[in-house]
Assembly symmetry: C2
Homo-oligomer: 608 residues x 2
């Protein structure tokens, strides 16, 4: 061993001990004839004192930043202590040292606030990983995985590895494929998730399975997506939805406790999908704050069970609202005194292409009881007051109203709510609010093919009460224009998403476990019998031999870690991430392969 | 939840309780008007008693093997107890039941001794996994991984995930490659091991890393190799060989304790590579038993430090020995009374193509003090005695002598020793003997290219005392015939293998951490500067920025589990293994891909 202690553990109680440390040179400071060196390792920083004689030796072989240094000496109490670091009470009076390796000058500083840009840090990721900010993220990641494993172990889950070289069944996302040399002309696929394997394990009787496992999707990478990502993948047999919700909200609570020291004693809220869309405009609402949407107007098919209150805005001859499919309002607390400049800026914000609205209507709920609006000439103060009240606005609030096509407007209102929540400080990094979103539609309508697609995935069961509806009706949509009247349009899924601070961190479902129902599902998705047998024959076959009722969930591990770490970017929580073109710029991968490899695999390029 | 208890937990103390169980029907036995059903789940088997009324209901919906059944009833003490199972004291008097799913008749019986052959069990792996024999293996595997993680965690190791989509650097084994759609014409490779990444992590200061991780090698599959396999992958910084040996022999001891309940208190033996080859004929000796090899004759270059004792066999005009490069003997304890039939059978055994010898010479060390041999007419009894003594034979032993070309004869003698050890009961499944093999040669000579290849891998450091030899000599072999005189031939590696019961379960080395030495290594392996920069530029670059001394080890997880489980086959310890053609016969993978996939990836087949 090159060291007797780490750079993070020596304290006053070690005074007088002879120790050996090894680590990286963080800083070198000369004071006349003596030299101070801060030595860094994974565990901390310890100050080395080179007296006159040692300093003279140092001059002969000067240290630079990031040199690897081994130093022997005595622990000594410091005269001027540093209360900011755990080892701040002591220093090592060096009696012997050895430079284990030199270092070129790093292309950026190894500090929390580095001067390195994203590109250079990714190219030299091995140096970036030395920064305390990145190290803390990877430590958090390990703590989350450790906590997860402990909790699941205590609850009788078994970690069972599923294969990585599987079969390509393009369904949903694109597969990465791997040419097989031993089976020329054939390909493996890398798993998008272990979904079918964990279901097979349930059929096999391993009633509580988990894995923290890499998954692969060959999709065009939006910001903060990775072609390979990690899932906490779980499945249970002999359970109903309630069992899964209890088991896994307690997993997340345990992670809060183990990793963040937070006792999450609140009941985890539950919300059905329709209410989420109605009140927050999306299916993963951030419930750290209110600002619920007031639905002033909406097309009748979107929320059949809700009463349209468009009376509040109708009859004013305001063409923007009258011509809009949807009009939605939110109240921004305490913003009634926004200046013209501020409201103009908000208007510009909603007109950005990412949001895509044409404009923004506001109503100021002044503290003197008056109401002032950008549409004063169309609406009386009484009307403005009624609209404001519908949005739950209080005196001093600013009501923001968006109008336009349903989907875009709802999405924009949701985004505006989040943006205002952020600006107003309602979205605190250190506050965590969990939410289950339930009762998703089982199907979505795919206009281009005039057929159903699975909203979650083809293995999700309908609600027990909807199974008969699914079995007893033909999935074919005879009249495309009236697809909403098809019985399948109202089937609810036995599915659930876990939402943390406005991010979907996990999702799952109770699965279909009956061959007949699974076949009906494949048919509903437009798969021929032949195709479903070719792709999923092994699963259909397994369902014939005593498949138990089962369900599960998968958490996005990278995302979960980034939220717990208070960051927007999952990349900061991955040791060796890829960029938005799927490249590892450090390795310079992907890259060309040899002619011999092409020959052995019996493939060739066919570049356009 | 479909159950209140599992099928493995109810005992007499639960008598009188109302419970609900769910599981699979193992057996149905009718006794007149009543019926007994054994219900099975992951945790055990519980007997259900269907009284007259319930039995009548059963008749209306008869149960079959592997049906999924939910049953409610009262726990009741049995009249005739079954001491063989934990729940044998009780039964459930069923008051209500529900068939959750039916089952077709399984293609083989779900029992420890199944009637299913290998092929059918692999095709229906989801049923095979239900068998207790297979379940125990996967439970053992999970226990090993759990124990490993706990030990490494307690020793400050961090689990850090490394990427799966990396760069192809064909070196040693063949890479599996993955065409990149977003970077057309380029390919990722799947990692053969996280070797370079774990070294980068050491450069980054994460001084104790581990991962239990899938690795991939596209090799022709010998029996019991899998294209994807799992490694316990570890690396430490600021360590020397001794530190690694201590850390990881304690890991294996901990696994013995946690998984098998064995206190391995013996010191782990150490043997250098030359001694292993000399005494056992291979580099992973099974030291559960003796039967060391007596080297009667060998070419001088193979063991330069050993004295040739061919005087024992020379001068007898026995052409077989005189013409042989190598003559080796072992003593089989207590076998002196082998019949002619038995020695003939052994002779046939060594003549099998897998062993490849021309014949076998034996010397019987009779208990009456005489010596009888198949080569009596060439060797006096005195000579025979001397040969027998060289092999450490005792009265009553049978000395077996093989002669021929060095490599083949040594291998054959090693195999014969293992075979005899097995026949004589010296290789017990429940006895575990650990061994470190040390001081491997750093290089092997590749005749076809007249160059050096790395025996372990290109990142292994020479012994500290050999570094100068490596730096100061030109690796080029001027005279192929005299390659053994090249200074590189005698360089020893700072490498170690852990051997358990004659199987290499892990191997590793202290790594090169200096750019200059690493470049010299690449050059020694015949890599041009351009090639080494193209393939490993990121690592050479990392070594410039303060790389610490480091080393590590990787254990073959599948193999380790199979040995602990007392099995020869790693496949039994993998949930979804592939066959010897790399096929998953359950999935029917690999398989063809769609035309659309070819187009998107811009590749096409080029079948011969």
């Amino acid at each position: 061993m090159y060291r007797s202690h780490t750079c993070g553990e020596l304290k006053n109680q070690h005074s007088g001990q002879s120790v050996t440390l090894a680590g990286w040179v963080q800083t070198v400071r000369k004071f006349g004839a003596i030299t101070f060196v801060d030595l860094r390792d994974r565990y901390g920083i310890t100050q080395l004192l080179f007296g006159e004689e040692m300093s003279a030796q140092l001059d002969a072989q000067p240290l630079g930043r990031e040199f690897v240094l081994q130093a022997k000496g005595k622990v000594s109490e410091r005269s001027s202590k540093n209360a900011n670091i755990p080892t701040g009470d002591i220093e090592i009076v060096v009696s012997e040292f050895s430079i284990l390796n030199k270092s070129a000058t790093p292309p950026f500083t190894i500090q929390d606030d580095t001067d390195g840009g994203d590109d250079i840090r990714m190219k030299y990721r091995f140096l970036d990983l030395r920064r305390n900010a990145v190290k803390k993220n990877l430590e958090l990641r390990y703590a989350v995985s450790r906590s997860t494993r402990n909790y699941l172990h205590e609850n009788n889950f078994m970690d069972i590895e599923t294969p990585f070289l599987i079969k390509s069944t393009p369904e949903g996302a694109r597969d990465f494929v791997v040419p097989s040399r031993m089976n020329a002309g054939q390909f493996y696929a890398l798993p998008q998730s272990p979904q079918t394997f964990k279901q097979l394990l349930m059929v096999s009787g391993y009633d509580r399975y988990y894995q923290i496992v890499k998954c692969f999707r060959d999709e065009d990478l939006r910001a903060d997506r990775q072609p390979e990502f990690t899932q906490i993948d779980c499945e249970m047999a002999f359970v109903e939805q309630e069992d899964i919700l209890n088991m896994f909200e307690n997993l997340i609570k345990r992670i809060f406790k183990d990793v963040k020291g937070i006792d999450y004693t609140d009941k985890v809220e539950r919300m059905n999908w329709e209410d989420a869309m109605w009140n927050y405009g999306n299916d993963k609402p951030d419930i750290r704050f209110g600002m619920k949407i007031s639905n002033l107007k909406f097309p009748s098919h979107t929320f059949p069970s809700q009463k349209n209150i468009s009376a509040l805005i109708d009859g004013a001859n305001f063409a923007v609202f009258d011509g809009a499919e949807t009009v939605l309002a939110i109240a921004a607390p305490g913003c009634s005194e926004y200046t013209r400049k501020q409201t103009d800026e908000l208007t510009e914000w909603v007109k950005r292409p990412q949001i895509g609205m044409k404009g923004l209507v506001y109503i100021k709920c002044n503290t003197d009881g008056t109401f002032k609006s950008s549409v004063d000439k169309f609406y009386s103060e009484e009307k403005l007051k009624a609209i404001a009240e519908s949005a739950d606005a209080k005196s001093g609030d600013l009501v923001l109203v968006l109008a336009g096509a349903e989907e875009r407007t709802r999405k924009a209102t949701s985004e505006l709510r989040l943006e205002m929540g952020k600006r107003l400080g309602f979205r605190k990094d250190d506050e965590f609010r969990l939410l289950w979103v339930l009762d998703f539609p089982l199907f979505e309508y795919a206009e281009e093919d005039n057929r159903w697609v699975a909203r979650h995935h083809p293995f999700t069961s309908p609600k027990p009460s909807d199974i008969e509806v699914m079995i007893n009706n033909n999935p074919v949509i005879e009249n495309a224009a009236e697809y909403l009247k098809h019985p399948y349009a109202n089937i609810k899924a036995n599915a659930y998403d876990m939402v943390l601070n406005g991010n979907e961190i996990g999702g799952g479902s109770i699965r279909i476990f009956q061959r007949g129902l699974q076949e009906k599902m494949f048919a509903a998705l437009g798969m021929s019998e032949e195709e479903s047998l070719h792709k999923f024959g092994f699963l259909l076959g397994a369902f014939e031999y005593g498949a138990p009722p089962h369900g599960g969930i998968a958490f996005g591990f990278d995302r979960l870690c980034s939220i717990l770490g208070g960051s927007e970017s999952i990349r900061d929580f991955i040791a060796f991430p890829k960029n938005n073109s799927g490249r590892d710029v450090m390795l310079d991968a992907p890259g060309p392969i040899d002619e011999k490899q092409f020959e052995e695999l019996q493939i060739k390029l066919n570049l356009k």
